[in-house]
């Protein structure tokens, strides 16, 4: 659990981010603007999607709609088969992780190769990303060097970050040249112009979207924005929140496939719009705010839980605070609702979120949904028992705390007896591993005020 890589990074990263916003007033205005644009976008989501589609089509981009990840996968497979693709190079795409696309394509005889350096390292080592912006953050240089020696280029000396970067450059350039298909995500899709925007530093995204003959862009339906003029504030908060940069090396705005007279660029561009539970989130006015997310990762970088346990502990595509609210909604409250419990509700994520997603409020709502859930049969016996125990506990609590006479009696008994409780009781055991059992006051406050003659009404 205690990963030194995470500790090293996260004691520095949040500070770095804030330094970029010189004064807090400017930051607050930007957050209000960016959050406002996202809120406006989400409030007009169906209209904007219907505006985006024909504008893309007019530009020559083919638009596909998928309700489920299975549907999206089969759309991509069809395109790949038509393109006679054996090798697909991929830019970073969280939606493709949702789809488990690499695995699916591999089963169908198509190699999908990650080309973002972090993603590439993870893929070569058969791991999963642990952070949405810095996928290999949990690995140190020695571990990565070992991966390179074993699986990338055994003949090359790849010890320093520079050497490994150079090795990866050479290996992947060869792949870019050969790949028939390029797959990317989409950071923003502009409805008014039918433009797909990608944000990146490495240039692999540009390779994937330019070099292969066919480009498939994968996008969650919430990633649309209305106008070109919405882009600057969103881009600013995205890059600053993600890595503390005023801008990334590349901001790539793709509006059409190769036109007459052009010498490069893909001959076909496909846009896959994936729902995968997003329209269900849209049903509830609060849960809908989950769709405001621009996937910057700031909530993870500022989360005291994430920075201690790392991304893999969440066992889901999206780790950290955003994962805690997204995953239970994507996969269902009965299978992933437990994630909503893994928060102290400290709100550091809400403070960091550049578009002001009320993450803790959404967590509370999901906990409520989970408490109300009747589908206990999905649970293992232990989970079922725990859940029943919790339900009974809160029923008892309700009785004790809404009956003043009972409450007072309990308080006064506890104050006299609690020090005799053995700290190995199941409830106390997890507490007392790190702490002494709380000492009750000799006399509860009720009694103290009575004795002190404080007025009662």
């Amino acid at each position: 659990m205690d990963n030194p890589c995470l500790k090293r990074v996260f004691t520095k990263l949040p500070e770095k981010r804030w330094v970029m916003f010189l004064d807090s007033g400017e930051l607050e205005t930007l957050r209000n603007l960016a959050g406002g644009i996202r809120r406006d976008t989400v409030s007009r989501l169906p209209d904007l999607l219907e505006e985006l589609e024909p504008n893309c089509q007019q530009n020559g981009i083919q638009v596909h709609w998928a309700q489920t990840t299975e549907e999206a996968n089969s759309i991509v497979l069809n395109i790949a088969r038509k393109a006679d693709a054996k090798l697909a190079v991929k830019g970073k795409s969280m939606v493709s992780e949702e789809m488990e696309l690499n695995h699916f394509l591999a089963e169908n005889g198509i190699e999908a190769l990650e080309s973002d350096l972090g993603e590439y390292i993870i893929q070569v080592d058969h791991e999963l990303p642990s952070h949405i912006i810095m996928p290999a953050i949990h690995k140190n240089r020695e571990e990565i060097s070992e991966v390179f020696q074993k699986k990338v280029a055994p003949a090359k000396k790849s010890d320093t970050a520079e050497e490994m970067t150079e090795t990866a450059r050479q290996v992947l350039r060869d792949k870019f040249r050969r790949a028939e298909l390029g797959i990317s995500g989409v950071n923003f899709a502009v409805a008014e112009t039918g433009t797909l925007c990608l944000v990146e530093n490495e240039g692999n995204g540009r390779f994937c979207t330019t070099m292969p003959r066919v480009h498939v862009a994968l996008m969650g339906i919430e990633k649309v924005v209305g106008k070109l003029e919405d882009l600057p504030p969103l881009l600013t908060v995205l890059t600053r929140s993600a890595t503390g940069q005023p801008i990334t090396t590349y901001f790539n705005m793709i509006s059409s496939p190769r036109q007459d007279g052009e010498k490069d660029g893909p001959e076909e561009v496909h846009l896959v719009l994936l729902d995968n539970g997003r329209s269900r989130m849209y049903e509830d006015e609060l849960l809908r705010d989950t769709l405001l997310c621009i996937r910057c990762g700031a909530c993870m970088n500022h989360c005291p839980v994430y920075t201690r346990i790392g991304g893999h502990a969440y066992q889901s595509v999206y780790p950290g605070p955003i994962g805690k609210i997204l995953t239970p909604q994507l996969e269902g409250i009965d299978t992933a609702g437990y994630l909503a419990d893994a928060s102290s509700l400290c709100g550091a994520c809400v403070e960091a979120c550049p578009v002001k997603i009320p993450i803790t409020d959404i967590l509370l709502k999901l906990r409520h949904k989970k408490a109300q859930s009747k589908k206990e049969h999905h649970w293992t016996e232990l989970e079922g028992a725990k859940n029943l125990f919790e339900k009974i506990t809160w029923k008892g609590w309700k009785f004790a705390f809404s009956q003043p006479w009972f409450y007072r009696m309990q308080a006064s008994i506890l104050s006299r007896t609690a020090q005799f409780l053995p700290d190995q009781l199941p409830m106390l055991r997890s507490w007392s591993r790190f702490r002494m059992v709380p000492r009750f006051s000799e006399k509860p406050l009720h009694q103290l005020v009575e004795e002190a003659g404080i007025a009662e009404e």
């Binding site: 999607l49 998928a66 549907e71 290999a136 990565i144 330019t210 801008i247 010498k263």
Partner: protein, 220 residues
């Protein structure tokens, strides 16, 4: 899948509530900084140099001399460029006048499928820029038939030429002033430095997939 399309849109329409957010609430405005030309140049230079861009300021007349120096220093023996462009013509003229001091000029004229070998083996590529953004230190490129998309990506050194009069203060100003939107060029790029990564232990390394060096000739 037409059914998926209508089912997704119907689901969204059925649960939509209230009026659009922007109609119920005014969004704050971010003031555009009022920088004069010199301030914009300074800002652009600071930002771009901070991300390892090499910048050479020169007049149009003085370009030749500085360009040759850079070519020599970087040991650039051949250069990919766009034919029938303003700066492409200048390069050709320079080469005609003094072939010894100029690298071999290779125009990007064939379709990518027929020139991958060349594209991946040249020392450098030169592009013009449509402008720049002072606030973020970004060059604006609009690749086209003459200067294709990969010209600024594949060669390990990217040489770019910018007319300092075309520096905008902010990205938003560039979008408004240039009247982007319909029809958008097939591809628009903002480039802020050579390609970079920090995926190994957060160590910043320049030159991962795209150019290892970005050299800007800023024409005053």
């Amino acid at each position: 899948m037409d059914t998926s399309r209508s089912q997704i849109l119907n689901a969204l329409r059925n649960s939509r509530t209230g009026i659009p957010f922007s109609e119920s609430q005014d969004l704050p405005k971010i003031p555009v900084p009022e920088w004069n030309l010199e301030e914009k140049v300074e800002r652009l230079k600071n930002r771009m140099e901070a991300v390892h861009t090499e910048i050479h300021e020169c007049t149009e007349k003085g370009f030749g001399k500085i360009f040759r120096e850079v070519i020599k220093q970087k040991k650039i023996t051949n250069l990919l460029y766009g034919k029938k462009t303003n700066w492409g013509n200048k390069l050709e003229a320079m080469r005609q006048r003094g072939p010894k001091t100029m690298p071999e000029l290779i125009p990007y004229q064939k379709k990518i499928e027929d020139c991958k070998e060349t594209l991946f083996s040249v020392d450098a590529g030169l592009t013009q820029t449509m402008g720049a953004i002072a606030e973020t230190g970004s060059l604006i490129l609009k690749p086209d038939g003459q200067e294709p998309r990969l010209l600024s990506l594949v060669p390990p050194i990217h040489l770019a030429v910018l007319d300092s009069k075309r520096i905008y203060s902010t990205f938003g100003e560039a979008i408004r002033e240039e009247g982007w939107s319909r029809p958008m060029p097939t591809n628009v790029l903002l480039i802020s430095g050579p390609s970079k990564t920090a995926d190994i232990e957060q160590t910043l390394v320049y030159g991962i997939h795209g150019p290892k060096q970005l050299i800007l000739f800023l024409i005053r």
